[in-house]
Homo-oligomer: 576 residues x 2
Amino acid sequence: MAFQQKKTGNRSRWRRKNSRARKDNLRFIPLGGLGEIGKNMFALEYDRDIIVVDAGLMFPEDEMLGIDFVIPDTSYLEKNRDRVRAFVITHGHEDHIGALPFVLPKIDVPVYGTALTIGLIEHKLEEAVPSYRRDLREIHAGELIEIGVFKIKPFAVCHSIPDGVGLAIDTPLGVVLHTGDIKLDTTPVDGRLTDFSAISEASRKGVILMLSDSTNVEKEGFTPSESIIGKTLENLFRANRTKRIVLSAFASNLHRIQQIINTASKFNRKITFLGRSMVGNVEIASRLGYLQLDEKMVVPATDIDRLPPNKLVILTTGSQGEPFSGLVLMSRGQHRNISLGSSDVVAVFATPVPGNEKMVSNTINHLFKCGCEVIYEKDRDIHVSGHASREELKILINMVKPEYFVPVHGEYRHLVRHAQLAQEVGIPGKNIFLLEKGEVLSITSKMARVLPKVDSGGVLVDGMVLGELEGSAMRERRSLSEDGAMVVSLVIDGSGRLVSPPVFESRGFIHMEDAHTLREELADAVQRLVNEEKKRKGGIREDSLKMRLMGRMGEVLRKYGRSRPIIIILINWIEK
Amino acid sequence: MAFQQKKTGNRSRWRRKNSRARKDNLRFIPLGGLGEIGKNMFALEYDRDIIVVDAGLMFPEDEMLGIDFVIPDTSYLEKNRDRVRAFVITHGHEDHIGALPFVLPKIDVPVYGTALTIGLIEHKLEEAVPSYRRDLREIHAGELIEIGVFKIKPFAVCHSIPDGVGLAIDTPLGVVLHTGDIKLDTTPVDGRLTDFSAISEASRKGVILMLSDSTNVEKEGFTPSESIIGKTLENLFRANRTKRIVLSAFASNLHRIQQIINTASKFNRKITFLGRSMVGNVEIASRLGYLQLDEKMVVPATDIDRLPPNKLVILTTGSQGEPFSGLVLMSRGQHRNISLGSSDVVAVFATPVPGNEKMVSNTINHLFKCGCEVIYEKDRDIHVSGHASREELKILINMVKPEYFVPVHGEYRHLVRHAQLAQEVGIPGKNIFLLEKGEVLSITSKMARVLPKVDSGGVLVDGMVLGELEGSAMRERRSLSEDGAMVVSLVIDGSGRLVSPPVFESRGFIHMEDAHTLREELADAVQRLVNEEKKRKGGIREDSLKMRLMGRMGEVLRKYGRSRPIIIILINWIEK
């Protein structure tokens, strides 16, 4: 591979301790979204000005047990708080706005976004941090805004949520063109095309740096238009005239929701919206004019049984098999208002996000067990992506003709494949930078190079408590989950004598017939060890006693099975 | 849906307490593999004879924390031990043989299988239960064996492991035809075609019951031939003449391993096998003549560096991202003998098994970070399945023309789709049975019906310890993994007095700055509660004290965050 990658480049020679900005120096600092799908955030700085684009969250990896989500580490921004001018948000998906409730109270600057994006952010902040005095500013595609040294022109892009924008950011060194999450849908549901003219205009001015969406770089050809879902819906409604129709889709995909509303209306069916995020988004989007919905069509969940099955569509969350979502509750026969049977057809209008495959698959199995017909990802034209495929990505690079190119929004393999694709369409390898989050791309009028990392990584969010990634707590949870725990409590007096028999408790063990014998043997081992320790020179020391107890108990436990529970020892010292 | 499914049928009227077999009654009892992918096993019984087909394991669901695998519940077989005549094994995959080490010592009967299958079983038993006196009997495709009332003709089928068979089982009521794991590969690597003639012969005799592989019923068309991998390999070797080539594949896919050996030989490269299962399978298959391998081609792992990169192929396990597999260790730079870099090309010749997507994806990302080129599932012709797709399944039903049809080897959604497909090609819905494991299909010369379930379900295996599925241990592991544990130990004397300050230990908490304050507050709460309890009528009772302590400690913990650790309380009673 010929492009700029850590292992092959020679930039380790380039080291600067002092990371303060200087004139004629544009710096691009990704704080998330590179090397991962999620928690998108980058800073762009020139002289005394920093703008931050997006502030997203990421859903946790399997091994982050019990964690709700992860947000970017913003300590770099906090250290340079006085220079941060604003957040500019490209669109309203969680991986672009989800960190705002945690970040804004610490970096209190205005947030810019289009009307729908601001509407969704407002709702989120109101729920999570109602006391925070937010400063949300509406922008419009095609209309210039100035923030510090930066002249930013947001431009319309098609994506799986309405009102998304890319950014053409004019800087003293040239334009930084960020595609945002983009696809080149030629027949978008809302008629709002990706703004080729704005991209060309930026290209004519001269694009110094292009940042481009890598999500679908592994997909050949073009991503189909969202409009094909409309045809699938028509066929579905026509083939199931006598049945009740239950649909599931992403609550943020308002284009798809609009098509479902349109089809329901055409076939004279009423519609019930289920799920907090579905109801919330439909409400916000209708109010702001992003959804055309006749209020008379809407039936509350409690009234479902008043309508004959063939007069109703139920639109619910749960397309990812999320526990407690509408679809999952229905599939298990646990929904308060709806019970599914042979007079229902259920269609899941989404494919599983990587990592959710098993949950989705289990939900589909349960739906079949209810006796209803199920349409799902293995069927045709049930989902299209919101991201550009390879041919679209090539067209974008052709149009922009950037000096430097950085693939963003992807795992490492996506970034590599996108770098390779950029080379295929003529960007020289030396001008392509494969960055990881935290790395700093420094651009002057003469050259671009990568500087050492700033603090990056992730911050775990467990409820509203923030913690460290890679901490020992995670390792402990993993051990506990795999092998369970054996706890023992001892009472030892001043002379080093065991005052009462050790007390044991265990959790997460496979039930064993010989549990009683095991405890007796453990008690025996503990008693003997304490006696040995007592005789040692200097008497009993808590640390060494615990260490040796663990070893001895471990030996006993291994005799009873191969699993190795965490051993927790509590010693109560009493005077006597 | 018109076929026989629990919710729509009326068989709840049919109830027999007495489950003893009787004359003129053939019973098919799936004990695993229906409603799940894995742990395939079914019993076939007539009069006093029971044969068991396959005895597989299943890899655990995500929520079965720390469990190695799951095997079928065989209590039905154990209860009827005196009537069980044999295990007949269709092929050597883990989901068909993996339970034998656990089951055979309890149900000690002969095991029948073809030469390779027996070779793999022998190896497995030798490792797991060396003291067990095994009775393994080799059978040959096309040659009849008689076991009790059953006359069994195994017939050749193509699959992703050599020497697989389907079974035509002659019974007094007609032939039971079991496809086994099957595909209709028209150009199999070993030239051993699926035996259409044997299937037709069974059809002519009259097939009373057909059991057919449902794995790929969601795939349109035909499954491509294994031979296409050979072309991909040729192109790969040709395009990378100067590089070292590292390949990963399933250790059991000996057809693929043969093609890799052939291509390596053609391009004058030596080969190194890595991974315990890879080395083991290559050894067994070579010895039994299922793999043509010139010993002079083989280079041990320790000699890798003596060869120039372009003279070597490394074939390793790890295509599923398994921790500690060769590929995963290499991708993390932790392999003893191999370090990857820009002079390597790595190709993963397999797609992720459902549930493994994230592990595979992480491995690919790490491989790219090593700087090597990576070829993987998103690339063309890198994997073909070993199971028949829809058009093949239709051909099979057309050929067999069974009286009754039962889809096997699939999750519930696969079984439903396969039942629908059988209807499409003319099997009447009333003759198609959608069974779940444990259900009994009873067939007489006049009719077939489903009887109530026998014991089924799964047995968890954690090391060599067997346990119960759905037990409280699993729930405890889940809680431990999500919220961690807070343990407290108290010493209380005969008068109900707390003799020493409570001792706390915690595991799996997010690190908190205020941990010290938390413990003080907890100690305070415990002290106060014990004092209250002491004053109660009748004094302190351990049960109620523990209950109330949990409540009180829970309140304190909730103030410090939303997570709810498991609380474990140990009370040491001492006399004073």
